[in-house]
Symmetry: C2
Subunit: 204 residues, 2 copies
């Protein structure tokens, strides 16, 4: 009975087709303008078909959110070879901010939007986020152990760093940096200056 396996494969193919189309539309037009009907039209199926493969729109965007985390995780762990944890922290910060600025829609979905939340809660564990946060936690612990930054609980220190970079990029992505009344280029330069300033402050 290889038919069952083929069917399973076909089901997965269809899921991938939907996710790929949704991702493409999402990155091109944003969340709101990526409707089930849009996706359906794009893959040349009826809207109702999508509900045979995903229970709702949010589940689709939960998968996209997971894929985005995989990308970010890979980028962050590229700096694993840097032995000095403070230096690694610096690179992690730069990479995080860069990722957010270059993939604002992904970042929004990962850390701002409520769309994937239902699924996260449903799963009782935000594993995608845990992976990235865990890596930050490790780095902070190493920094503290080696006395490279001002002493603090590693959770508190990690939350402080994450909060700062998250705040920095979300103020930009959600267009609140308009308050600076600067050209976009200057704003980005100021963000870099702010990141450096923050990390210098941390140092012992």
């Amino acid at each position: 009975m290889a038919i069952k396996e083929r069917k399973e494969r076909e089901k997965q193919d269809m899921r991938n087709l939907i996710i790929d189309s949704a991702t493409q539309l999402f990155l091109k037009q944003g969340y709101d303008k990526t409707s089930i009907r849009n996706i359906a039209e794009d893959i040349e199926y009826s809207p109702a078909t999508i509900y045979l493969y995903f229970k709702d729109k949010d589940e689709i965007f939960y998968i996209i959110h997971e894929n985005a985390f995989e990308i970010l995780d890979k980028l962050l762990r590229q700096h694993n070879s840097i032995s000095d944890p403070y230096e690694r922290l610096h690179e992690l910060g730069k990479t995080y901010v860069n990722f957010a600025l270059e993939n604002p829609d992904y970042y929004d979905l990962m850390f701002v939007m409520r769309a994937p939340l239902a699924e996260i809660k449903h799963k009782e564990k935000w594993s995608a986020g845990e992976c990235a946060f865990g890596y930050l936690l490790e780095t902070m612990a190493a920094c503290i152990d080696q006395g490279l930054i001002k002493p603090a609980d590693k959770f508190v220190a990690a939350m402080t760093v994450w909060s700062f970079v998250h705040g920095l990029v979300t103020l930009y992505i959600r267009e609140r940096t308009c308050i600076l009344e600067m050209p976009d280029e200057d704003v980005r330069q100021m963000m870099n200056a702010s990141l450096s300033h923050f990390l210098t402050q941390m140092k012992t």
Copy 2:
């Protein structure tokens, strides 16, 4: 011809009626569930009537967003009497975070949601935000002048502080602090610890 003035008054009354109803519904049920039809039913008018007083839903939420800024501004400027600028900064931080945690929907509308953005851009100036940010800027300048915090450009310093507190509260409001797998009370305590840690790091 006092009729014209009475009409003008009545127009303003109607605008207030709509805003009051919208605000009430918004704080009770959130943005998405506050529909034009809901507001219309609440004030016992037809949905179309609302469009005689506001050009679209976003304009209504722009007004609510402005009102929220008035509340935050008053809270922040309560600390004007504190002469030591670093101490004042500390109180500003605590007040800001408290405001966000106690009024998450207001905070969301002010600093995260895209709803009021069209109007902000249309007006070419985000005066509501400028007022609060200006106050932070003053305080930072005073801190730097008196050598209370590590030297930096006042804009960079202000952006750093704002980014941190904004990140801290938005990770909480948009439910990303679930990663800590802590009871809500502990998360809030950690947020306080993080704020203190951040402000201590700034000190010379």
